[in-house]
Point group: C2
Chain length 322, copies 2
């Protein structure tokens, strides 16, 4: 990952400046909230994808920086709204905006970021990019709603799970890569390839996230392990385990999902059930498959440092511990 | 108002069809929520402005209909989020979406409507309209946040109040009229005129709303009288009265604003204070001034049934009881 930071060192510097500069508002409180959440150390995965995809597509201008920032703003808006919907207390190791300032600013500053993003896109005036991003945000909200409808639903199928994560996560990764292709005026083949690469990478990212929620430690991930289960989110490790689990195990998982307060013991027992039916291994295998598939899509591009960087980024998905 | 309905009868029919048709989603729950709130009898003030302004500007096509629908979607999204922010229980005489389904779908379906709106605008591809609407929604969220920051602030000045309502209400009215001008390829003079007309009309609309919140009856307005005061919203009737009120009266108003539960007696006493210092009359005079100013802007247009309709609509603002 260090090699990537090195390769696009200048772009990353401009990205951070751009993130600061583009949030213009007469309301200083908005700045305060946005800075609080944006500076709290996100991985900038999505903007990095915009930058690398644009460079891979031969783009020589500098519009990839504001678009990368915009993609981060949109992502940040979804985080602000997610935390309200999930009633989340911490994110990236810090208290959430809704915990510190309440739900109201979380909702409204999220709206501000969405609107500001579209305003900035409209100013730049690339029609295809506008279409790509607005389609992605629509899918995103649909994914969030689908997830909400599936809350605590023990019968959630693998197919339904993939529909949720495809919409709520993969579509924005895919849009990030597609923007790069559009900036570089790529032909349809390359545009489709980057779009598909981003989508599969996004799926892999979410699969990894869902695995980490069962195994990683608070100090590393900056969030409490078991958050998904506590919030009633039925993710692939559990879905897979439940396909082979015994009736009493399924009943227990259902009880935990329906409970308002999951105990550490509850969580351990669900984790044991998942372990018994190899839910983690299944999910990790699936992650590897998506990553490999993603990398295959890049075959249409000639060798380049940017192509290598995207491959490194994809492979890192599997290894990451946060 | 009947004359307006008659004048644009066909357009209004198409508007309702368009509102139904444009909300395409694979998630039927979204449709359910959107129908619940959109069919609950809004006045369609903003889409009517799009239609009349487009017609006044000589527009002969049919894109004014989807844009009118989009403006209603954006308005609806703000209602969904407002009701979460204000913890509102009823709207237009019906239970709010957050009361029936909870805050989560209110936030997420609002996001869906915002995104879908931008997706639809991007599809139609009028760059200036995109800029106009995205600027308006940014201002809108800023207005909502400013209002939130001023909650229960007894020292809210008239100037601050006008900044809030300008952003949260007038800007979208203004955008609605400007879209009409843009569709009709108006010259700058006429575009500015319609934009200014919409802005002043929006201010007048909000002033009237804020007066009605102190005087109208539940059955008519479909909401409880005194809602603003209960929610800590310091509006012009009160602001004006407090400028001349005695210390003990100001102290009482402050106590009521800070209270989590306002009683009917509290409300009556605040209303008495407002009455004593003619806060309602002042606000109504101001409303009339804005309406007259709005109508003056239309002088650049030649006589036409659409011009008459806009004047009728503006004058109706003053008389409306809901």
């Amino acid at each position: 990952m260090e090699s990537i930071s090195k390769l696009i060192e200048e772009d990353l510097k401009h990205l951070e400046m751009s993130i600061q500069k583009l949030i213009t508002t007469k309301v200083s409180f908005i700045k305060e909230i946005v800075n609080y959440i944006i500076k709290s150390g996100g991985k900038r995965a999505r903007p990095i994808l915009v930058i690398l995809s644009a460079r891979l597509s031969g783009y020589q201008g500098d519009l990839h920086i504001p678009y990368a920032a915009i993609i981060e703003f949109i992502h940040t808006a979804t985080l602000l709204h997610d935390d309200v919907v999930d009633n989340a207390k911490t994110r990236r190791g810090n208290s959430t905006v809704n915990t510190v300032w309440g739900n109201e600013p979380s909702v409204l500053v999220g709206d501000f970021l969405y609107s500001k993003s579209f305003e900035l896109i409209a100013e730049n005036g690339n029609h295809e990019i506008m279409k790509t991003i607005s389609k992605a945000t629509t899918a995103l909200s649909e994914g969030e709603i689908l997830e909400l409808l599936k809350t605590s639903d023990i019968e959630t199928s693998e197919e339904e799970y993939f529909e949720v994560i495809g919409n709520k996560t993969a579509v924005l990764f895919s849009a990030a890569c597609e923007i790069g292709a559009l900036l570089g005026n790529s032909d349809n083949e390359k545009r489709s390839a980057l779009k598909a690469f981003g989508y599969d990478l996004g799926i892999a990212f979410q699969l990894k996230d869902d695995v980490l929620d069962y195994v990683s430690y608070d100090a590393i991930l900056g969030k409490h392990v078991g958050t998904d289960l506590k919030e009633g989110k039925v993710t692939l490790p559990l879905i897979h385990a439940l396909q082979s689990a015994k009736e009493n195990e399924i009943a227990f998982a259902k009880k935990v999902l329906d409970k308002p307060n999951m105990t550490a013991k509850d969580f351990e027992r669900v984790r044991t059930i998942i372990g018994k039916y190899r839910g983690m291994e299944y999910t990790s295998d699936m992650t590897a498959r998506y990553i490999n598939e993603a990398i295959q899509y890049l075959n249409v591009f000639e060798a380049s440092p940017y192509k290598d960087a995207l491959i490194t980024l994809a492979n890192h998905m599997l290894k990451r511990e946060m």
